[in-house]
Point group: C2
Chain length 208, copies 2
DNA sequence: TGTGTAAGTAAGTGACTACTTGCATTCCTG
DNA sequence: CAGGAATGCAAGTAGTCACTTACTTACACA
């Protein structure tokens, strides 16, 4: 029973490295330090195991929160972007695998869309509030703006390892740079005093 | 001999559907309408075949060109973005598979980075020229701006099928919307008269 | 007509895969 | 100490995989 969690973690890790077809029950058992038979007794089949592992993964995700009422947009959005890009970077392997398996095995990766959907909804909500406050000089569709920022962050997290010279340097400032670019596109005035990356990271986010 | 091309095409198609491990020589042979043995006689091994198929794919790609001297930034960039997003959408399956296999089989997917690298360089070059012309009211790093636009386009092309409600509607206008947002972030004045999507598509791009 | 080349057929090899069965071991609990 | 549940070990099953060998067929060309 106490092995169950270790098996799930091992399955997720092996899947992130090798994908579904490459995640042999042998490899997962070895990674979990468990006999291969135990897997079948606990989960019934390889597919059931991986389905549960995927579901379990997405449940433990905590996204940074954006305030319902924007006050310092640059700071709030930068913090959110940094936490989002960090989340994606830590899971870039498993995200790539999941996106690849999506077409062939949708039932396995359904839950994968939960996090980006939630993030998009949160961001849209925030941008809409910003617009209602009248702090955006330009007209814009929140959904388009949100897709733009999230897209830039997503592509950075997925592609930087493969092509580091294509993305802005240093890596740690990338989220901030994308965020600033977006705010300028929306015509939002930047009011916050200069804060270093370390300061912003330490001053964690404020909930609604 | 005349089968060689058909085998390469079939291999690429099967790979796009099933990835490396799922691309059995049997499946590829069936898809090509050829005996499995022919594959081994022509290419030696499954890996060699897929390597050649991938290399062959990337060679036939023609990216839209951006002028060396920007004249109508909104129109020129929109055309480029539309051609780029169309390119990615047509190949979204194979791109997902390639990104997924990258870590496990880098020698197979090396060539995959050629197109985005080229696109990034072209776009950076154009944005730098725009900046030099003094047509951007805001200061910006071309590389960051390029990564932002390309990232938004990339994420749209990869993710819209899976989560259509997250991305701006209609699909056909998405590239244009991202482009406009970017130009506003750069403080580039939009001068072009309103053109419909159909017109812009027909008036293909102008080279340097 | 003879020869070389590309293609097909048939059969098989050894390795790996998901999954099963039977039995022994450990350990917790009553 | 007895009984049951979780786990491990050894062996095996049926299927698939990449790849090979040996032989045949079809066609081009001289």
């Amino acid at each position: 029973m106490h092995n169950r969690q270790e098996i799930l973690d091992a399955a997720a890790q092996v899947f992130a490295q090798h994908g579904f077809r490459g995640s042999t029950t042998r490899r997962i058992a070895d990674a979990a330090g468990v006999n291969e038979i135990t897997i079948f007794r606990q989960f019934g089949s390889k597919e059931a195991l991986l389905r549960e592992a995927m579901k379990h993964m997405t449940q433990s995700v905590g996204l940074a929160l954006l305030p319902d009422v924007p006050s310092d947009p640059e700071r709030e959005l930068t913090l959110w972007s940094e936490s989002f890009i960090q989340h994606l970077r830590l899971r870039s392997s498993i995200i790539r695998k999941t996106m690849s398996e999506m077409e062939e095995r949708p039932e396995l990766s359904e839950c994968a869309s939960y996090v980006p959907r939630q993030a998009s909804a949160d961001l849209c909500h925030y941008l809409t509030a910003l617009k209602r406050q009248g702090r955006a000089a330009e007209k814009f569709e929140p959904k388009t703006a949100a897709a733009m920022l999230m897209g830039a962050i997503f592509a950075d997290a997925m592609g930087r390892e493969m092509m580091p010279d294509v993305y802005p340097q240093p890596q740690e400032k990338a989220a901030q740079m994308y965020t600033r670019l977006l705010l300028r596109a929306l015509g939002v005035e930047i009011v916050s005093r200069r804060t270093t990356s370390k300061q912003t990271k330490r001053t964690k986010q404020l909930s609604a």
